[in-house]
Symmetry: none
DNA sequence: GTGGTCTAGACCACA
DNA sequence: GTGGTCTAGACCACA
């Protein structure tokens, strides 16, 4: 499981974790039943306080994405994949709508906006693809 | 000058105001020399605390977009249009890059993302166009 | 609003606060739109850390019982009364079912259990009624 | 001896075991001198960690309900029945008082509470009766 | 070892 | 003033 946290992007850290876990479940990087890295491990790896990790995990439990396995840790819920795929699309669409609204209100033309999207996608696709295909030492706990 | 503030989109309110003023300057809705509505008027119109408005205006002065005209208020700087056009593109592109990165990291395909962008643009274009062409009682103070 | 917190009864403090706020909404002690005591005030009054109060309030927001009023505090949601009445009955019925199951499994007869319930209710009804009818200095903020 | 453990009812698992053993002694399912299943057996049967079982047994010894019989295991104390009957009533009454207090504080009427108790008892009585009369392969070791 | 809760105290955005 | 977030560190139940 790969995390990329930015403490200064306006989104709370615990919320970034919640989203990235849901996204990982959505794309199958985390499969049902799989255990997540422990709070302590993740805390150390991300250099983030363990309370913050715990808060994210608790939210994920409340959202039905993770379940507690006593003494072993937190595991992906059996039927979490579908809902997480929905959640992913909704979250992305909401953020996109917000940015696009701002762009249109700011006087950019749809054609111009589409051009920017295309540019950014072309730039990003390469680097992200690299990350995504990198070997992940934790995918089978 | 038309403002649309969304308290839940993750961007601080004062920051939304800063951006929207710059965007209005970029597209010419606000021209050099033009006076902005006062903090008090804007505070009342947007139902937003005046400290928040004041903070946005302070930032806009610091960024060289607005300047104080003694006894009259804040006016658009003489040479602000060009820089604001640049800023607009950068601000939009930055937010877009952030969302697109999140989407790609989350396992969405570029094609799927482009489809979502198209959907959202189609939905939004109509409503925004309407707003944009509405008469604006404050554009010539 | 009256709180009675017992740090040692096995239920987490924040959870006790969540329940008692929902119960107060259910019985109308807290009406829609009404502001709750602030986190700081409650923290001092109950001698409980403000993070714990904040956590309870956050849960209550997530549950749709409270909503944030920027700069003023947290208010009871407009349509929270009905759901809180349902939640109250469910929570009580669940806890009762748990105790009654234990009693039956432990070999007590239904008649004996009913007698204990009657005894306890008679004992408690008086004292609670007194509390409930006491003047509440905070019911109209 | 029949155990029914509910990990989600707020009472610690070891505490549930302590209570259920006392209750079984109270109703005679466990008689003085009778040996209890070993920690290992119970741990396996209930799918509960053996530390948790051991802790419950330790508490039961401290409470004078069980005693160690060298080389054979833990047995019900000679004079445990009476005290366990008292304990049973007290433990049940305490939990009931706690729930009933919460219900009254929450604004439920005594009549409404009695109705809920009656409903729950009717629902539960059938299933529990069935369990109680089932043959118990361990009652005479 | 696992997660859950709580405290004390800092800093932030917003009103 | 309001609530929200984060850290550091303690203690707990359970495996």
């Amino acid at each position: 499981m790969f995390f990329s946290i930015d403490p200064h992007n306006g989104v709370a850290i615990y919320e970034q974790i919640v989203r990235q876990v849901k996204f990982a479940i959505a794309e199958g990087t985390l499969s049902p039943g799989q255990l997540l890295p422990s709070v302590r491990v993740l805390s150390q790896r991300l250099a983030i306080n363990s309370n913050t990790i715990a808060r994210a995990f608790q939210q994920l439990q409340a959202d039905g994405a993770l379940e507690l396995v006593r003494g072993r840790g937190l595991a992906v819920c059996a039927n979490a994949t579908g809902p997480c795929q929905d959640a992913r699309r909704t979250l992305i669409a909401d953020r996109l709508r917000s940015v696009l609204t701002e762009a249109l209100h700011g006087g950019l033309e749809p054609a111009d906006i589409k051009r920017i999207v295309r540019e950014q996608l072309d730039t990003l696709a390469g680097s992200v693809a690299t990350v995504a295909s990198a070997p992940d030492e934790e995918s089978s706990p």
